[in-house]
């Protein structure tokens, strides 16, 4: 299914006031399409480094929704809002999937690398990558929806 982009997008391209709002299905290819689109739009406004940090954080949060939030269900909608705030970019991701374990964002501890060759990790880095690129990471469960909010600083911490 193609992501439902066009009718939910309102990108006001003024010098200061702009905002990206997207609604799309929680599927890997839809996430990829949305990220490419945001990358193109954000690069000119934010510069390549800030846009890249935002893309990485969004990719990890959105893939988490696809793989865990809607796990065991067919799929569902994701609502994404991106807007500039003082010193950075505010991102908000809303989905109607399962709540986060213990109603909190996972700690994002890095997997142990002091292991045998065949036991090296093939995943488990997602939240560490998010925490390494964003500031002010917040989560709440609101009327059956997950709301994740974070900020991407214009210059890296």
């Amino acid at each position: 299914m193609q992501p439902d982009l066009a009718d939910r997008q309102s990108a006001r391209c003024g010098r200061k006031a702009w905002k990206i709002r997207l609604r799309f299905r929680a599927r890997p290819l839809a996430v990829r399409t949305v990220l490419s689109r945001i990358r193109r739009q954000a690069r000119n406004r934010l510069g390549p480094d800030c846009a890249a940090r935002m893309e990485l954080a969004l990719a990890e949060v959105l893939n988490n929704v696809v793989e865990h939030g809607y796990c065991g269900r067919q799929t569902g909608p994701i609502d994404l809002t991106i807007k500039p705030v003082t010193g950075g970019i505010l991102c908000r991701i809303v989905d109607a999937g399962w709540p986060m374990p213990d109603l909190r964002v996972p700690e994002g501890r890095l997997p142990d690398l002091d292991v045998a060759f065949q036991d090296l990790p093939e995943g488990g880095w997602g939240w560490a990558l998010v925490r390494g690129t964003v500031s002010g990471l917040r989560y709440r469960r609101n009327r059956g929806r997950n709301v994740v909010v974070f900020r991407i600083p214009l210059t890296p911490a």
């Binding site: 893939n63 090296l120 093939e122």
Partner: protein, 114 residues
């Protein structure tokens, strides 16, 4: 997915002619690497010079390739772009791989598009 192999004798160079290794193509990447490296003995160098984005799934796929190649056919990486290098640094996986600044020189005629 566009992977290009260049056989350099003891070393198999694989160029990733894609700008992303992400969740959408991680499984495909692993399968293609398994096919390309079948029958090769020796080091495998993955040229990531054209890859501008990798996520945790893409990183996991590269680790999976390293593991199925085994210690006898070490997987090394080359030409990490800044965004790819950031992911390796934040996950500390830059300490697990041998990482070259640039890919090995390829003699004329060694190109073998797959």
């Amino acid at each position: 997915m566009d992977l290009q192999q260049v056989n350099l004798g003891d070393v198999l160079l694989v160029r990733v002619n894609e700008d992303r290794i992400d969740a959408a193509i991680a499984i495909q990447f692993k399968e293609r690497m398994r096919m390309l490296t079948a029958g090769h003995r020796g080091r495998v160098i993955l040229d990531l010079g054209r890859v501008t984005f990798i996520d945790s799934s893409g990183l996991g796929a590269i680790v999976a390739v390293m593991k199925f190649l085994g210690p006898e056919r070490p997987l090394e990486l080359a030409a990490l772009t800044p965004n790819v290098a950031r992911v390796f640094r934040l996950t500390r996986m830059d300490g697990v791989f041998v990482i070259h600044d640039r890919p090995p020189e390829t003699p004329r005629g060694a190109e073998d598009a797959a």
